[in-house]
């Protein structure tokens, strides 16, 4: 019996859904293969989150609590993760593919000389490792991958697996951890534009994303109103984040975030492959674009060919009626 370990990423005291998706998958694989599904929470107050993690089938939960984990910093996180690796010796160590994960995955792999596959959309166990699917070429193509070794790291794109509750009574192991400020190799000066209680894009059920077509004030207003009627998270194409019109954290795509909402409304977005790379897995895609040949229509379930300034006002009204 081997250990399948899942890292539970926490941001502002909340567990990232993508971690729980990975845990759900790990639990499923553990049950099918006679392994044990375990999890590790590393946070300022890790113990508070054990209960939620148990719901997804972890039979053992490691916790590391230290105020240093208030904000993401790679040096302490790497130290903590290495410690857990020593302790749990996981055959597979899974991560949700968050920015925090991306920051440490390479270094962690190099540190323990482990095989690593990042940003997979599917994975399963093999005799000597894992087999995984990764989107490549701006997500136009899927690649089949194999990784082998005693410890394998894998990070999983958000939305790849459904949450699947299978509550257990977990053994909780509080790991001893200390970190001295002097060990920090870098200094975190400040965090700007922290999202606070904004809806996290990669977890949103509904997203309204704006592109260059909606770059002026009026366009922005319409997009905001549409998002608020639908209680949706706002997203953006690179054209708008690059121009400083929308916050960089809202960018969706190859450079930005990967999302998989139930409903994605693309407003004034052409549908460049690098944008589509981040949203093609949305359940229902609606596109508003005045160019009937815009590539976004190739993937939209409902394409509205028209000027967004003319289409959005009645659309918003209509939605209000339905909602209200």
């Amino acid at each position: 019996m081997s250990t399948l370990l899942t890292h539970i990423a926490v941001s502002d005291g909340k567990i990232k859904r993508s971690s729980l998706e990975v845990l759900s998958r790990m639990t499923e694989l553990a049950e099918a293969n006679g392994h044990s599904s375990e999890a590790v929470i590393i946070d300022a107050n890790a113990s508070d989150l054990v209960e939620e993690v148990q719901k997804y089938g972890a039979s053992k939960v490691y916790t590391i609590s230290d105020p240093i984990f208030e904000n993401h910093q790679n040096t302490p996180l790497l130290k903590a993760l290495s410690k857990v690796m020593d302790e749990a010796d996981p055959f597979v160590f899974g991560f949700g593919s968050t920015e925090g994960t991306k920051d440490i995955l390479g270094a962690l792999a190099a540190n323990i000389d482990a095989a690593v596959l990042s940003d997979v959309s599917e994975f399963e166990l093999t005799d000597d490792g894992i087999k995984a699917t990764r989107p490549v070429m701006a997500a136009k193509i899927l690649s089949d991958n194999k990784a082998h070794g005693d410890n394998i790291l894998v990070s999983v794109r958000s939305g790849s697996y459904d949450l699947n509750e299978s509550p257990t009574e977990a053994e909780v192991v509080d790991l001893d951890f200390s970190f001295d400020e002097s060990e920090l190799k870098t200094t975190l000066r400040e965090i700007i534009g922290a999202s606070g209680d904004k809806i996290d894009l990669s977890e949103a059920e509904t997203i309204v994303a704006a592109g260059r077509g909606a770059k002026d004030d009026e366009g922005q207003e319409l997009v905001n109103e549409l998002a608020s009627v639908l209680n949706a998270a706002l997203g953006a194409s690179r054209a708008l984040t690059e121009a400083g019109i929308m916050d960089p954290s809202l960018q969706i795509g190859q450079t930005g975030k990967v999302v998989s909402p139930q409903l994605y409304i693309a407003v004034g977005i052409s549908g460049a492959i690098q944008h589509v790379a981040g949203m093609a897995n949305s359940k229902v895609i609606v596109a508003v674009n005045k160019d009937p040949d815009a590539p976004i229509f190739d993937i939209a379930d409902y394409g509205i060919v028209g000027d967004l300034y003319k289409v959005l006002p009645p659309f918003i009204e209509e939605l209000k009626k339905i909602k209200g």
């Binding site: 270094a107 540190n111 990042s118 070429m137 193509i141 194999k146 954290s249 093609a280």
Partner: protein, 256 residues
């Protein structure tokens, strides 16, 4: 200041591709400078223009990748090292990181910068690996860089906002293409690029051991992505369109 920028030659993701017998085929053999690396080069150029210093690019790849090195030199990098490999090696990020870290071991530098990911594989691993091997302070996914005294200040796009991180030099940073708009080489730049120093080292002369060069991960095949079923396209009066689509979303899809 001495900047090393790790640059990679990658297939142009905009070129038509197809899969034949599980292999990835490009209609044209279109290879380009990784877009994220182009941003790293640009930023290094801007910072050395401002603070003085030198930019050297390093590339691990086959002979034909020279074209990509020239591009970086034409942008303005001062010199280049080309670590040459066979044509069709199947190295993963870890192997490239091993090679690059070995190269950097006895070098002097202030900053090593990488792209935040390869645009063909989106792996995003090599930078952190190199930093770990060299025990360097590092930051990934930088969207802005500046120099203050002997520190590199990186603005990093994190999960909950932008983290402003101070890195003592020497350090490593991986760059997002959101950082800048890479310059297009001028004709003079292109002409000068031919005369800039380019050191070529065969990988086989670097004496890396077998294990450092054997990839623990392998691509075993490629598949076409299942296409989305083409949907409905509506044209006509805005009012009618709005009503129709809103109702469909409500009644057919149940997503409102």
């Amino acid at each position: 200041m001495k900047f090393y920028v790790c640059i990679k030659q990658v297939p142009d993701v905009d070129a038509p591709i197809q899969i034949k017998n599980g292999d990835l085929m490009q209609d044209t053999d279109r290879m380009v400078l990784n877009a994220y690396d182009a941003s790293a080069v640009e930023e290094a150029l801007v910072l050395t223009e401002e603070h003085g210093g030198e930019v050297e690019v390093v590339l691990v790849g086959p002979d034909k990748a020279k074209e990509t090195i020239r591009k970086a030199l034409a942008m303005g990098a001062d010199k280049a090292t080309h670590i040459t490999t066979e044509d069709d090696v199947d190295y993963d990020s870890a192997v490239y990181a091993n090679i690059l870290a070995t190269f950097f071991k006895d070098k002097e530098y202030d900053v090593i910068s990488c792209g935040k990911q390869s645009q063909d594989t989106d792996a995003g691993l090599a930078g952190g690996m190199i930093a770990q091997h060299l025990d360097l302070p590092y930051a990934t996914n930088a969207v802005g860089l500046s120099i203050e005294d002997d520190n590199l200040i990186a603005k990093r796009q994190g999960d909950s906002g932008q983290e402003i991180i101070e890195l003592p030099q020497p350090c490593l940073v991986t760059c997002s293409n959101d950082m800048n708009e890479p310059r297009i080489p001028s004709l003079k730049g292109i002409m000068q690029s031919k005369r800039k120093p380019m050191e070529t080292t065969a990988l086989s002369d670097m004496n890396l051991d077998e294990s450092a060069l054997s990839a623990k991960t392998k691509v075993t095949g490629y598949m076409e992505k299942p296409e989305r079923e083409p949907g409905q396209k509506f044209e006509g009066e805005p009012d009618e369109l709005a009503q129709k689509v809103a109702n469909l979303l409500d009644e057919e899809e149940n997503v409102i």
